[in-house]
């Protein structure tokens, strides 16, 4: 447990940077809206979803209806369904820890627990998952309370520090890309997101992108999975579909690069 604790703590340090800062910002906005510390604590303890908590403050001041509160939450947090799907097998056999592990599966916690190469022995995984989840949750609560408590006193220019989370996702992405047998999921993820970002704009692209990613990942054959391929490998129709998807993904990736260079 002790070795796992050290490992988990070090792994959460990038999340700490992002969570303290984003939680701090949330606390400041909440307090300036005339809300209590208790509300700050309860939101970060029980909702524990950064972007939705920011959105909630807007809904509160805007006097939104409960139906629109519900629908906004569905739209903003729909991506969490994906995290659950990809953790189904990893979270098997974690015992009593499971409900909390599922409850606390944020973007950032997911980015740490979804990795295949954890450097943690198989029998310690449950402890590792729990420690990472709890420590991240504590960072988020700490940031929120600090922001709500002493936020008004701080004058340090933190502009841009939230890039820590972008950098975290980018390193996990690169790490996954290097070790993955098939690079197709990476191309599909980036390609579909960039495609819908360009078509629908930044407020509406996430859900359509998720749907396209899910469909494409279901139809492409899996690298190294013989059971899936063996039977129809020789059939020409299957081969055609295969190439079509490679082409599509490459196209999307190119599109992304073109945009980067503009």
């Amino acid at each position: 447990m002790k070795a796992s604790l050290k490992r988990a703590f070090v792994d959460t340090l990038p999340v700490m940077t992002g969570y303290i800062v984003l939680g701090f910002g949330f606390g400041i906005i909440l307090k300036s809206g005339g809300h209590s510390m208790l509300l700050a604590l309860c939101m970060s303890l029980f909702i524990y979803a950064g972007s939705m908590q920011y959105a909630a403050l807007g809904l509160m001041t805007g006097g939104a209806s409960m139906i629109s509160v519900f629908l906004t939450t569905l739209a903003v947090n729909a991506r969490h369904i994906f995290y659950g799907i990809s953790m189904l097998d990893k979270y098997r056999g974690v015992g009593k820890r499971k409900p909390y592990l599922i409850f606390s599966l944020t973007d950032e916690t997911y980015s740490l627990v979804c990795r295949d190469s954890l450097g943690v022995p198989e029998e310690k995984r449950g402890d590792y998952y729990l420690l990472v989840s709890v420590i991240n949750h504590l960072w988020w609560i700490t940031g929120t309370l600090l922001g709500a408590g002493v936020g008004a006193l701080v004058s340090f220019n933190t502009e841009g520090i939230d890039f820590a989370l972008t950098a975290l996702f980018l390193t996990v992405f690169i790490e996954g890309f290097i070790t993955a047998k098939s690079k197709l999921p990476a191309l599909i993820g980036v390609g579909a997101s960039v495609l819908f970002l360009l078509i629908l704009g930044q407020d509406n692209f996430l859900i359509p992108a998720m749907l396209l990613i899910a469909v494409l990942l279901c139809v492409i054959p899996e690298a190294g999975d013989d059971s899936d391929k063996s039977r129809c490998d020789s059939e020409s129709t299957d081969g055609k579909t295969d190439t079509a998807f490679v082409d599509k993904a490459t196209e999307d990736a190119d599109e992304g690069q073109v945009t980067d260079g503009e």
Partner: protein
């Protein structure tokens, strides 16, 4: 919203978020084995989703002026190059973030 409405809204958000997080486990996690299609999806999802999250984080980047995209582009390049070279997550993230902060605060 008045005080009571605020607490009701917080409860709705908390329950809805938890519902979304528990949904896959309730639907697919019941049996001893995850359905094959979902299991296959679950193995390729992490990489695709990390790609999606990177794009999500960079969604506000605009190409109308250099200040709109250069800081993010340069900082991402720093993270990528450092990470490919050293493979040390913490080093990549700290260097990239400091670089981004300096760029947005002092340069652009």
């Amino acid at each position: 919203m008045n005080n009571a409405e605020i607490w009701i809204a917080v409860a709705i958000i908390a329950l809805t978020t938890a519902l979304l997080r528990f949904l896959p486990f309730v639907i697919f996690g019941r049996g001893r084995k995850t359905p094959r299609m979902i299991s296959k999806l679950s193995r390729s999802l992490p990489l695709a989703i990390m790609g999606m999250l990177v794009v999500y984080c960079l969604r506000g980047v605009s190409f109308t002026s250099p200040a709109g995209f250069l800081p993010a582009l340069i900082a991402c390049a720093v993270v990528a190059v450092l990470h490919l070279w050293r493979r040390n997550t913490l080093v990549s993230i700290v260097a990239g973030t400091v670089c981004y902060m300096l760029l947005v605060q002092l340069v652009f």
